[in-house]
Symmetry: C2
Subunit: 212 residues, 2 copies
Amino acid sequence: MISDKTIGRLSLYRRLLNGLEQSGQATVFSHEVASMAGVTAAQVRRDVMSIGFSGSPAKGYGVSELAEAISTVLYRGTTQTGALIGVGNLGRALLAYFVGRHPKLSIRAAFDRDPAKTNRVINGCRCYPNNQLAEVVRTEGIQVGVITVPAGEAQSAANDLCQAGILGLLNFAPVRLWVPAHVYVEDLDVSQSLERVAYFAGQRAADKEVTK
Amino acid sequence: MISDKTIGRLSLYRRLLNGLEQSGQATVFSHEVASMAGVTAAQVRRDVMSIGFSGSPAKGYGVSELAEAISTVLYRGTTQTGALIGVGNLGRALLAYFVGRHPKLSIRAAFDRDPAKTNRVINGCRCYPNNQLAEVVRTEGIQVGVITVPAGEAQSAANDLCQAGILGLLNFAPVRLWVPAHVYVEDLDVSQSLERVAYFAGQRAADKEVTK
DNA sequence: GCCTGTGAAGCTATTCACAGCT
DNA sequence: AGCTGTGAATAGCTTCACAGGC
């Protein structure tokens, strides 16, 4: 019912609101959030509307109330749990970034097929060998998988995770994953983003030449 | 003229075509590319049309010809150069991922303000102190910046890069950057993606409960 | 028969614009 | 006066569907 784009923006708003909360601001107008998030005020109001939250024309939105309302939608009152597979450079970077930082979204386990990396704690996260995946996913009740293995192993990692009962995947490998229809997949393709930036940067450079 | 979404897909098609080339396949139909890329065949044909390339109804598209045509659009015949700022976990992961891998898109320099990380080669990339940024960007003719510093330093890093004359930014920090209008910015917000996956995974789980 | 190229239709997402409130 | 909430309009993107070709 709520679109993926809206969910993404709500996640961003929530982080921004947490910042405002920290700084002691009690209420906020749609155009203030909009400017921080880089979207229009109308967009913010629509997104807020989509979760059934209301502000007041006089005061705007209550900062903590709105943050709380977004949290309720995003996490449904429970803490979501995740696992990461592939403890290479990127995997470790993500563990360092996430572990312990997010109260409602916790990476509970990491997996790797390299025995040198398993059975110890890396960046605050317990690391298991791949063959314990199904068991750990079940006992920890993990719903989300983060795939940071090389491209050639990604499909097999996805298979294992889906088999284990995972319902959502965040995939950093530059390959299309084939998964059961009930599993949600989001691809985060860094090469693609970088190539896009290079293209539009080059375009700007070409425009400059022309305008000269 | 070509939309950012189309550019992203073209980048993906090019990688897929390179794979086919490797395996010796000479021609390919739109529906084959579509299935590999996870889009519709009509979408592929539109995207190909947007760069003015043509296939034949009998044989489909020439694999290397199409790959070449996409490269020409994306890189304009020159090699695009980039610099990365922030040699932490994530920065190193990206250096390991990109350096030397991509013939037309080369990360030429990394920057960090920590003296322990500078004036040496990290994952194949020369690492300079921040105060040499302007000079190196100029001498290497760098057009694209990749920001992997902590959120609090991102705006200042962006300022330095824009000042130095960069035209495109790939930003991993979860903050909105304010840059001159002629600079293209793409944000890659990992938290946002993960929260989105968690949301839709949770949704699927809830659906299951209901259908039970 | 099965493909490409493409006008036209259909969808989705965003923005406009204004009524209603304080 | 300046805000929110929202129907209506717009813009942008994707898919349909079919003419034309081998």
